[in-house]
């Protein structure tokens, strides 16, 4: 086991550090060695991330063959897999058996330390690694998508390969376009740095380390959004992204402070010291009992940290007599909310969602990699990673935040006309879904959607990039139309993405063909479903949400709103596709010059389309979901009954699949069918309006002008925040500066003026009084001296007499005045 852990750690560390190496070489030497017109820097970046992908995949393979046994079922020949697939019928019985197998096996985690940053007494802060199936899945996903996007970008950014690049969006003061040297190599160096930061975030073994890389992905995002530094809109968007993220990080830091002070460690995993003693990690200290309850003090207000191991190595609360670490339950909630605050910022959740649409100022490959597939998903990833620390109250907040975000963003996407903005809002909306999934207790469901979304969203962004490049940097959909013929590969791969995100499926299709693909087994609760990845993951989330609302009827909106949003999603995504690729060209001049992109750009589209379609094959019994749920925190599976502690309950993941005894469909089936229906309705409406033109969309816009304006104004969040925060901050700042100038300095100046006044008076006193006295004395001395001249007789005898008398007088005075004793 240990050797496996070391192998994994080494492989992932290489995958993690290679992009850093690439970045350093590029930023320092690319220009000197290869020049502006060379693609060598990009090839280096592709090599680094590609090799990272190979390492990650190898690590995953090693893990699966030696520990997971999920995908590569002990490397059986294809024939065995073929038999295995039809065996597992989608009955409640079979799935129960399956889950049982999983719960009996303990989740495998490999952890260790890179090096220690600091130590204060018992407090240690270090850089660690924490590798479980989630880490591995994220590594494979991130490196795979990043590799595709790197390759795509060599085509997309190729116009930067010049000494003199003309930026048509920037005007100089004399009215001309702005000229600058191309920055191809710079773009790839930033991408490499980003990959390093993102992978570091995923491999991080403690929450502090997550925070470190959290900030680093933030700065990479800043650099990439502001890549066109000459554009004021770009640099403003970059600032906005970073500062809004920092607002979330403020919450993150508060969470860190609470954890650090109450738990005394940041580590996820237990720490094994050299003397074989074990220090519990964060997750071990909040172990739940069989009912999902924390160990609490007798009053029930404080949670007792489970810091003691019993004979079997399970963590439990020390007995009451011994010294115990406790944390107030409310403080645990605040800590959870704080860390989640960071996730809200990074994953652009309500109310900090405003930065993400603006971030589309960056080049499109950046939008695909950073602002849809990976970085923004880091918030969801952290919420998943940190799941054991969240109380049901925190999860409820997460669920509502996700629900609101999903809905608000989807509504704005309806009216957006910029092709990238539509995708940006759909990203926010989908991230909301993931949060919702996590919040309602669907741990694996939320992260499942994270992975599937990463594939189909990066695909769609790259498709939009292909469209934008084909249309010579036109992003407005009203000027497009009829592009299907001109760029078929882009259009069709985009369609794959649209179907995936909309969650469309054809139920009941039985395809024998799949069984012949080795190592893959497919089935699902709905029988055999022909569908793409998004269907399965959204299905899983909605099913859990429905289960949740059944347990907590008060929170029924947590199912209804996402269901409605599923319909809206389908509507606006198909709107995008119909708008762009079907119909008549609305701008003939533009249309005439459109061309399909070169193969370096379309090949990544095909790869991503493959994964967007098939990565979730088999749904919740498929490999991806099973791989993820291998790392599911142990308390999640059985749900939680909150009725005793007056909080919300969480559904048990088995019961979702169980058909009720009185007949009818299981929760999962109900949710899945509703979602499918919603998606179909959305698509049909979209088809009628934008493809068939049954009604003119402009008429609808006029009819509902106020609603349209409200949505187009993004619900007014930007204006609101400007009035609430930005302007007041500047006022306070001016005020602070003014205090310095008019209060503190004024006090000093007053003192100085007083000092000067005193010294002036002093001078007058000096000249008038003291000098007067001195002069008086001088004059009198002078006259005295004149009179004494008479004594100077020059007669020795007279002098001696004077001296003797003086000495005697002095002695007499001395003895008379000297204190006795």
């Amino acid at each position: 086991m240990d050797s496996l852990g070391n192998t994994l750690a080494n492989l992932l560390t290489i995958a993690w550090l290679l992009p850093l190496f690439g970045f350093v070489v590029q930023i320092l030497f690319a220009l000197k060695w290869w020049g502006r017109k060379s693609k060598t820097g990009a090839y280096l970046a592709i090599f680094c991330i590609g090799a990272g992908f190979v390492c990650s995949s190898t690590a995953f393979y090693k893990w699966d063959t030696q520990a997971g046994h999920l995908v590569f079922k002990e490397a059986k020949p294809a024939a065995t897999a073929e038999v295995a697939a039809p065996e597992s019928e989608p009955t409640a019985e079979a799935s129960d058996e399956h889950h049982h197998k999983k719960s009996s096996g303990k989740q495998t985690v490999f952890s260790g330390t890179f090096y220690q940053l600091a130590q204060f007494g018992d407090l240690k802060i270090s850089l660690d690694y924490y590798i479980d199936s989630l880490t591995l899945a994220m590594f494979v996903m991130v490196t795979l998508i990043a590799t595709c996007i790197h390759i795509f970008a060599t085509g997309y950014m190729s116009e930067e390969l010049v000494e003199d690049y003309v930026d048509h969006q920037v005007h100089t003061h004399d009215g001309g376009h702005f000229h600058r040297p191309g920055r191809f190599y710079r773009f790839f160096s930033y991408l490499s740095l980003f990959c390093f930061a993102m992978l570091g975030l995923v491999i991080a073994g403690n929450i502090f380390q997550v925070f470190i890389f959290w900030e680093l992905v933030g700065i990479c995002s800043y650099l990439l959004i502001g890549f066109y530094i000459e554009r004021h809109s770009a640099s403003t968007a970059a600032n906005k992204a970073f500062i809004v993220n920092r607002v979330g990080d403020f919450g993150f830091i508060i969470g860190l402070m609470i954890l650090w002070t109450s738990f005394g460690t940041f580590n996820f995993a237990d720490q094994h010291a050299a003397d074989h003693s074990v220090k519990p990690g964060l997750f071990s200290m909040v172990t739940r009992d069989d009912h999902g309850e924390f160990a609490k003090t007798s009053g029930g207000k404080d949670v007792v940290l489970t810091t003691q191991q019993d004979g079997h190595g399970a963590w439990q609360a020390p007995p009451e007599s011994s010294p115990r670490k406790t944390i107030a339950y409310t403080l645990l909630i605040v800590a959870g909310l704080g860390v989640f605050g960071g996730c809200v910022g990074k994953s652009a959740q309500f109310p900090l969602q405003t930065w993400l649409p603006d971030a589309m100022e960056g080049p499109t490959p950046v939008s695909a990699l950073v602002h849809s597939a990976t970085m923004v998903a880091a918030g969801v990833y952290l919420a998943g990673r940190f799941y054991p620390m969240f109380t049901p109250e925190v999860l409820l907040t997460i669920a509502y935040v996700g629900c609101i975000t999903a809905f608000v963003a989807a509504t704005i996407a309806i009216v957006a006309t910029d092709i990238k903005k539509v995708l940006a809002y759909s990203t926010i909306s989908q991230l909301g879904y993931m949060m919702l999934g996590l919040g309602v207790g669907g741990w694996a469901a939320g992260l499942f959607h994270l992975i599937t979304h990463a594939f189909f969203k990066s695909l769609m962004f790259l498709c939009s990039g292909s469209v934008i490049a084909g249309c010579h940097h036109e992003q407005e959909m009203p000027k497009m139309g009829g592009l299907l013929r001109k760029m078929p590969i882009t259009a069709l791969t985009m369609l794959v993405g649209v179907i995936a995100i909309a969650g469309l499926a054809i139920p009941g299709v039985y395809l024998k063909f799949w069984w012949y693909i080795p190592y893959l087994s497919i089935n699902s609760d709905h029988g055999y479903v022909l569908s793409f990845s998004g269907f399965h993951s959204k299905d899983a989330i909605l099913a859990t949400a429905l289960g949740y609302t059944k347990l907590n009827p008060l929170h029924f909106l947590l199912f209804l709103i996402p269901l409605l949003t599923a319909g809206i999603t389908s509507f606006y995504m198909f709107r995008l596709w119909f708008y762009t690729f079907l119909g008549k060209p609305r701008d003939q001049h533009l249309h005439d010059h459109v061309h399909e992109s070169p193969w370096v750009m379309t090949a990544p589209l095909l790869v991503l389309a493959f994964f967007a379609a098939f990565c979730a094959l088999g749904g919740e019994h498929g490999n991806l979901f099973q791989t993820l749920s291998h790392s599911e925190p142990s308390h999640v599976e059985h749900g939680f009954d909150g009725s005793q502690s007056h909080t919300v309950s969480l559904p048990d993941s088995h019961s979702l699949h169980v058909k009720p005894a009185e007949g009818g469909a299981s929760t999962h089936d109900v949710a899945g069918r509703s979602a499918l229906l919603a998606a179909f309705i959305g698509m049909v409406i979209s088809y009628l309006i934008y493809a068939k033109r049954v009604v003119n969309p402009d008429d609808i816009k006029r009819q509902a002008a106020s609603v349209h304006a409200f949505l187009a104004n993004k619900w007014g969040f930007d204006d609101l925040y400007d009035v609430m925060f930005v302007k007041p901050a500047h006022v306070v700042a001016k005020f602070a500066a003014a205090i310095d100038k008019f209060v503190f300095d004024e006090i000093l100046h007053t003192f100085v003026r007083m000092g000067i006044a005193v010294s002036k008076w002093d001078r007058k006193f000096d000249e008038g009084v003291i000098d007067g006295i001195v002069n008086l004395m001088g004059n009198s001395t002078h006259s005295l001296a004149l009179s004494l001249r008479n004594v100077q007789t020059g007669k020795i005898r007279q002098y001696v007499t004077f001296i003797a008398v003086s000495v005697v007088t002095l002695f007499v005075l001395l003895f008379a005045l000297y204190p006795k004793g």
Binding site: L123, N239, I243
Partner: protein, 533 residues
């Protein structure tokens, strides 16, 4: 080559020796004198690095003490020595002076006088860091004051005289308070010395303070307030900070670098080395006020920085904000109401160490920021933030370096500013939840003012201010300075143990002895304790 004792004396006096020989140089041989001075500062820096090698990190105490009787009737000794705390600052001083000397090439006015004062200033600063005798400490403190006054007052900008006098008045005022406290402790320690005269020995005074029964609580409180104000002016903390923006704005670039990089650290060092050890009771008594002042400095400085339109003034206010973390980290000393023992002492230790790291980190990043301002000011002769823009296109290498340095100031992980700030903030929760939250809010404001400034200066299509023709790429000398500042930014950010290896043990020892000192000091009456909370 040299014994550690000789080495430390050399570090203090090599600059003076070099200054002495400058007297005989021809006034017109400016290039020679600059090189000579650079050699002097480089040798000092090399010696300070060599001194690192003689230090034993495992031993937390003061090492290699040199004590020579100086004024015997007053028990005044020439007593120097070092531990990890002073040693790291000594190396920082050597480094910053050397880099600042490289940045002094542009000074054309009265070069000889400038260089002599520059070197004497270094002696003063080094002396303060080495001094273990309170009187000697005070002497070096004042030695440092005059060269600085002239360096600002003669080589400064248009309002240089105002700024110089302001600087002088503030520092002198602080010095006087320190003098009073010094005499108070001198006379109060008379019973302990054996010859009935009293002592200036900082080590002895600290030892007696830790015993608790030598210095009365009243003396400790009064002494601490005097010492604290004296040092707080130097740090500077709100509300004693207004001399700093003026001094920075008027001072020539290299002097700003020294002021921000080294002189401000003297305040923090004084608090750690003198104020706390001598008055543990007073320090604990005032701890809430101290943390509050530190937090206010962080937030207030950041807000004030946000409002500035002068580039250099903005950087100066960022110093106020960043040095606020130092005070917070030092002061987060929570005690148990029942026993008087420190509660969560490791967190306090973390705060102290974080504060120490923040001093070093700020000592690298802040001179870097002033240097960046200086580079562009030397070219276009203005500092109006609204009249820059587009420098990235015109001076790409400079802009890249500036971005790294400003990100270090912003507290980006991987660069030096992060560790100190975040460790301090993390340690603060144990002391006070409210103050910790307020101090954490600094991350937003800091990002705000730094990114906004970067956008206005470096980004955008065109330079908008006067003298666009003067904008030329960095010279190789300027690049050398930039690299010299960037490398430690990364090194400290990635591997903070470069500092912690040296400061861990002395800090742990200090925290322990302070804890003892507070517990051992007889409390006057219970009222005092209840009022303080």
């Amino acid at each position: 080559m040299f014994s550690p004792e000789v080495l430390s004396n050399l570090i203090i006096f090599v600059p003076t020796i070099f200054a002495f020989f400058l007297i005989f140089a021809d006034t017109k041989a400016t290039e020679f004198m600059r090189v000579w001075t650079l050699v002097g500062t480089a040798i000092t820096f090399a010696l300070s690095v060599a001194l690192l090698g003689t230090y034993t990190p495992a031993d937390g105490g003061i090492q290699q003490v040199v004590a020579k009787e100086w004024i015997s009737s007053w028990n005044i000794y020439y007593r120097i020595g070092y531990d990890g705390i002073s040693l790291t600052l000594v190396v920082l001083t050597g480094f910053v002076f050397m880099v600042s000397m490289l940045a002094s090439w542009g000074i054309e006015k009265h070069v000889k006088g400038y260089l002599i004062l520059f070197l004497i200033l270094e002696t003063g600063v080094m002396g303060v860091f080495f001094a273990l005798d309170f009187f000697l400490f005070y002497v070096f403190w004042e030695v440092m004051l005059l060269p600085m006054y002239f360096l600002i007052g003669i080589w400064g900008g248009p309002r240089r005289e105002y700024a110089a006098i302001k600087f002088f008045l503030y520092t002198l005022f602080g010095g006087v308070l320190m003098l009073i406290a010094m005499l108070m402790y001198f006379f109060a320690s008379a019973s302990m010395t054996g010859n009935g005269i009293g002592s200036f020995n900082l080590l002895d005074l600290a030892k007696w303070a830790a015993q608790g029964n030598v210095f009365s609580p009243g003396l400790q409180v009064a002494g601490f307030i005097l010492l604290f104000i004296g040092f707080a002016i130097k740090v500077p903390t709100f509300p004693f900070h207004t001399w700093l923006p003026d001094a920075h704005v008027e001072a020539p670039t290299p002097i700003s670098m020294i002021l921000a990089g080294v002189l401000l650290k003297l305040g923090g060092y004084g608090i750690i080395r003198v104020a706390y050890p001598l008055c543990p009771y007073g320090a604990q008594y005032a701890s809430y006020a101290l943390v509050a002042i530190g937090v206010v400095s962080i937030v207030y400085g950041a807000f004030a920085a946000l409002a500035q339109t002068d580039f250099k003034r903005m950087v100066a206010y960022s110093s106020v904000s960043h040095m606020g973390y130092v005070l917070v980290g030092i002061a987060v000393w929570k005690i148990s109401e029942v026993t008087g023992a420190a509660e969560g002492r490791d967190y306090w230790l973390m705060g102290m160490s974080g504060a120490m790291f923040q001093m070093i980190a700020h000592g690298v990043s802040s001179p870097g920021m002033f240097f960046c301002v200086g580079v562009i000011y030397d070219r276009v002769h203005h500092r109006d933030l609204n009249q820059f823009g587009g420098l990235t296109g015109l001076m790409p290498r400079y802009s890249g370096m500036a971005a790294v340095i400003f990100f270090a100031g912003l507290g980006l992980p991987g660069l030096c500013g992060f560790i100190g700030e975040v460790f301090v903030v993390l340690s603060a929760w144990n002391y006070s939840k409210t103050l910790a939250i307020v101090s954490a809010s600094g991350v937003i404001l800091t990002a705000g003012y730094i990114l906004w400034a970067l956008q206005r200066v470096y980004l955008g299509p065109e330079y908008k201010g006067p003298h666009p023709e003067a904008i030329t790429p960095m010279t190789s000398r300027e690049q050398a300075i930039g690299w010299a500042l960037i490398v430690p930014c990364f090194a400290l950010g990635v591997y903070p143990n470069f500092v912690f290896d040296y400061t861990d043990k002395p800090m742990a020892k200090l925290v322990r002895s302070l804890d003892d000192g507070y517990q051992n000091t007889p409390k006057p009456h219970s009222e005092l304790q209840t009022t303080q909370k």
